[in-house]
Amino acid sequence: MPDAKTRRAAVDGWFTLDESAPALLGSRCTGCGTFAFPRETFSCRNPHCPGTQFEEVELSRRGRVWSYTDCRYQPPPPYIAAEPYEPFALAAVELATEQMVVMGQLVDGVTVADLEVGTEVELVLGTLYEDDDHEYLVWKWRPLDRSPAGAGSALVRGGSDA
């Protein structure tokens, strides 16, 4: 058996590598509180705010699907597709606390048939692509209904995602 591959982020500094409870790393303007993902470093996006100072924040790990689709055909480079290509689902997810929508792939095995506008999803780490030595990770959304027993959707339904 070959040694297990090293797991590393496909992009540095965009999310934590906490395997059990990963989170997207965004920024929050210290002046007006506006969040940004990926993080803002130069100037607040709020035109009424002169802010240039930002704190790094972990974004909400749960949200609701704003809309969703899938990619039936292999995207062009720089996407690195597995051979053979496996279609995947994509969602734009609303985060209540941040009042913003964040894109992400769905975990392997989830199709558009499993999704609706409003479906609650949770952030997990998933494999984006691999080479001989590494497994490159990215954030993915997983519908709460499909999460392991004990993390059922009743936990968050009707509550905030904070």
């Binding site: 509180g33 506006t34 969040f35 704003w66 720089p78 597709a81």
Partner: protein, 400 residues
């Protein structure tokens, strides 16, 4: 500013859309020469050349204004080149109009042309980890149709749009373009054929999504005084409003190529108009008209579903009623306000820097009564709408 902020459109010209595989300059020149002939002007009469750039044809594409000027023969004209993604053509029109209205020139030539690669649009090459357009392909595999599909799915879940509605838009536009000599696809399709085409990005199928094309379009714009002297007392076709607005914070609709929307926490609630709603609103305001005055529209149907969004965004109906407008036949030729009588992107495919100019060419021919086989009878006011990647609004009001 002068009271009359219109400029005259004396000439319109296009090279047919297709997948010709030739140099983009050739398409631009054909369109430019046709536009000049239409205006009964010579190239050497042009005082300002406004080029719309292409980023997929090497350096000549980045300085398209000079490229076209050189190909037509250096004449010493003032020149500009601009890129605004899908809105490049409108940005080039805006530049030319500003020169004319400022009194810096009387005759301007606007040209855009493109030669496109096959398949999905991909980002410009290289390893560019700080470019969101590169990163969305690398990290998400999110192609352009994937973003269009997000909007389509949302229409279905919020407003009850169906796959058949999206297919009906395609059927309508295919019929509109049948006799347009500049359209690439001139063939009727049925709802069944659309729904039998391969799924690309659920719920959008191949025939719901516009192709990428080669093509070229050009306009000759002049001051109103010049036009009256040159063209006599006849009715002039004019640019009455141009919108090149950005979105307003917080932009709450996810847009290509972004990973997220703006955060609205600091905006204190109260939803303003969306970006797409604000685009034509600015053009209407400049022209002193409203959507109720519009006789026809050319909108960016990157997908058939997106055309329905535009009906609402340009004010033809309230949100959620686009499907009714379509089903009632209001937006078909012969209806209350035909949309995409040219056949739209559905029949053309997208030739990025030429497309917003081509939309205006169609309005010019419609308002002159020269749109053989697709004429909107008695049209006097038309509007175009599209938007460019990141936040370039594009809308032009043409009146007669």
């Amino acid at each position: 500013m002068p009271d009359d902020r219109r400029v005259a459109i004396l000439g319109a010209g296009m090279h047919p859309w297709g997948k010709w595989g030739r140099n983009f300059v050739e398409y631009g020149l054909t369109a430019a020469r046709d536009a000049l002939a239409d205006a009964r002007l010579k190239w050497t009469d042009v005082q300002f050349v406004s080029g719309a750039d292409t980023i997929r044809n090497g350096y000549p594409g980045f300085i398209a204004g000079a490229t076209f000027a050189q190909a037509l023969g250096w004449s010493g004209a003032r020149v500009s080149s601009c890129y605004a993604a899908c809105a490049s053509g409108a940005a080039a029109i805006a530049n030319a109009r500003a020169q004319i209205l400022a009194g810096l020139c009387e005759v301007a030539l606007v040209v855009g042309a493109d030669t496109t690669p096959k398949g999905f649009f991909a980002p410009v090459g290289g390893d560019r980890q700080d470019d969101p357009d590169w990163l969305r392909f690398r990290l998400l595999g999110a192609t352009n149709p994937a973003y269009f599909a997000l909007y389509a799915r949302r229409r279905m879940e919020l407003f009850g749009a169906t796959e058949e509605d999206f297919a009906a838009v395609k059927v309508k536009n295919a019929r509109h373009g049948l006799e347009n000599p500049y359209a690439r696809y001139r063939k009727e399709v049925t709802v069944e054929e659309v729904l039998a085409s391969p799924m690309v990005a659920d719920p959008l199928r191949l025939l719901h999504i516009c192709a990428t094309s080669d093509g070229g379009a050009a306009l000759v714009l002049t001051s109103m005084d010049f036009a009256r002297r040159h063209a006599g007392a006849g009715t002039l076709t004019t640019v009455a409003g141009v919108s090149t607005v950005t979105p307003r914070f917080p932009q709450q609709v996810i847009e290509m190529p972004s990973f997220s929307t703006d955060s609205a926490v600091a905006a204190g609630g109260g939803e303003g108009p969306t970006f797409k709603q604000s685009i034509t609103a600015a053009a209407y305001e400049e022209a002193g008209i409203g959507p109720e005055d519009v006789d026809l529209a050319e909108v960016y149907d990157l997908s058939s579903a997106l055309e329905l969004d535009w009906y609402e965004d340009i004010g033809l109906c309230p949100p959620g009623e686009a499907e009714k407008l379509l089903r009632d036949g209001d937006t078909a030729l012969g209806g209350r306000v035909p949309v995409n009588p040219s056949g739209g992107l559905s029949c053309f495919g997208e030739a990025i820097p030429a497309q917003a100019i081509a939309q205006v060419c169609e309005l010019v021919w419609q308002l002159r009564g020269q749109a053989t086989g697709r004429q909107v009878e008695g049209a006097r006011v038309g509007v175009t709408a599209n938007q460019g990647l990141f936040g370039h609004g594009s809308s032009v009001v043409v009146t007669r």
